[in-house]
Symmetry: C3
Subunit: 109 residues, 3 copies
């Protein structure tokens, strides 16, 4: 039984720094608890590449990171440019809805 389940939604490039800080603070604050954390990026947020090192760090801590394939296509981001720790989902919105259906809290940083 998980103590906390939360999905973070990032849809704007300039919100990545706040989102990453949010996730880090949440992980630090809930240390020792059982948590499930997912980040879903869609729209122009999938074009950010400078944040990959920070995302990799979060992935190593167990954070699930999903990029929206509709957005990748719309912004012409080739899938091959994404590191393997980023999961590609057909539609980011469906992933966000599904997670909430599973009891995840929703946060828009």
């Amino acid at each position: 039984m998980l103590d906390f389940k939360v999905v973070f939604h990032v849809s704007e490039k300039n919100r990545w720094p706040v989102a990453i800080t949010n996730v880090k603070n949440f992980l630090a604050d809930t240390e020792g608890k059982k948590v499930a954390v997912t980040i879903v990026a869609n729209a122009e947020a999938v074009t950010a590449q400078d944040i990959f090192p920070q995302l990799e760090e979060l992935a190593h801590k167990g954070v699930e990171i999903a990029f929206c394939n509709n957005a990748l296509r719309a912004f012409a981001v080739p899938k091959e440019t994404l590191p393997s720790f980023i999961k590609i989902v057909p539609a980011g919105i469906t992933a966000l809805v599904q997670k909430q259906k599973e009891g995840y809290a929703y946060i828009k940083p």
Copy 2:
């Protein structure tokens, strides 16, 4: 029994294009499934008129579209200027809270 229920919250004019794309992608991704989709617009988002044709298209696909009456008053938008497929709700926030109480996922595009 619905497969997915989701309410989209639009409060800024410049987020309408992303919101409309989100809804379209969600409908395409969940084709064949039973979904309930509502868009609630409040604050300055109720002043957008250029997106009416696209909203009409979504309304024809079964999307419920609600504009906040507090916002219409605050931004001096006469109700008569809204097409009939847009439902007016007394307070957009209450509509958003009510939907979530009914199990709708919340998305802020």
Copy 3:
């Protein structure tokens, strides 16, 4: 048994006016009903001071107001500068997740 429970998330300074209007409209629209309303501020939103008088008014109406301590530290806001009606929570995100776990609707103004 509460009729409505809602948590508002404010993470940007310039969204405070909309957030405050949202809360006021919600309280007016649900007058006579049993509601629980919380505002959680994090990130740069904790640096706003000009909105304290309006927040005090909301606090008097029973709205719980919480500022994120991580954000206060990050933006070098001394705790002593906060009025007593503002509650300081260790991590705003955890508070937002906890509230949703308790059945609160989430609104990002």
